[in-house]
């Protein structure tokens, strides 16, 4: 889970992904979109031409509204998707 920053108030995990071109960025976002639909979990996404910022917030059913292991696992999966797209 490289490069993810855990923030407080509100609790979230954030990471910025950089790409060499818009096409590569788009491929990553498409793969992320498909994965999110599959697991029914949607992070906040902010992107431009060559970057994408992903913000993972605690799930709705998380009463404490704190980052949990599930959130870290979700972040790891996103990293894995990025590596797949790079290859």
């Amino acid at each position: 889970m490289e490069g993810w920053r855990q923030k407080k108030r509100p609790e979230c995990l954030e990471k910025r992904f950089e790409f060499q071109s818009y096409e590569k960025n788009r491929d990553f976002l498409d793969a992320l979109g498909e994965y999110c639909e599959k697991v029914n979990r949607f992070p906040d996404i902010s992107f431009g031409k060559t970057y994408a910022n992903i913000t993972i917030r605690p799930e709705e059913n998380n009463v404490k509204e704190e980052i949990s292991k599930d959130d870290h696992d979700f972040a790891s999966e996103i990293d894995f998707l990025n590596k797949q797209e790079e290859n």
Binding site: Y22, R26, F42, P43, D44, I45, G48, K49
Partner: protein, 182 residues
Amino acid sequence: MPTSQNRQSKSSDNAIKPQDQVVDVTPLNSTAQSKTSPKVKSELNKNSSNNLKTSTSKNLSNSSVGGGSSKPPIGKNKAFQAKSNFGIALGMIETRGLVPAIEAADAMTKAAEVNLIVKELVGGGYVTVMVRGETGAVNASVRAGADACERVGDGLVAAHIIARPHDEIEPALRGSGAKRRS
């Protein structure tokens, strides 16, 4: 014979000319503004343009764009409330220029089942369009919109998706209705 009330309202109307307004604002869903604004104007001081800005700055429903003579109170935008059950996720695309913004809006609404809620001219030639709907739909539509506007004009400036926006930002999503910003 004109009554004193009529005489007052006429003089108030003449005191405030369109060219004196900072921004020509028409709330997107307001039908009552034209009826209420003469009353607002008649209650103002003779220094009408300054008071317009003062009353505007006190208006809590102002967006970050600013400006405006009068707006519907917060929570009374019924058109937005009627669609609020549709889906709460928010997608935004900012472009440089109106043409890529329209292209993005067209692509977003065609790509997935989302509602276009705002087109905002934020100044400096930047235009922001916003959609709402189910999270997956907003996700897909923003990607499609970004694709479309990337090929048009100066293209994409930024895109943003908020899966679960807080209720407190709802007033900011109504748009100022500004027609042109320098």
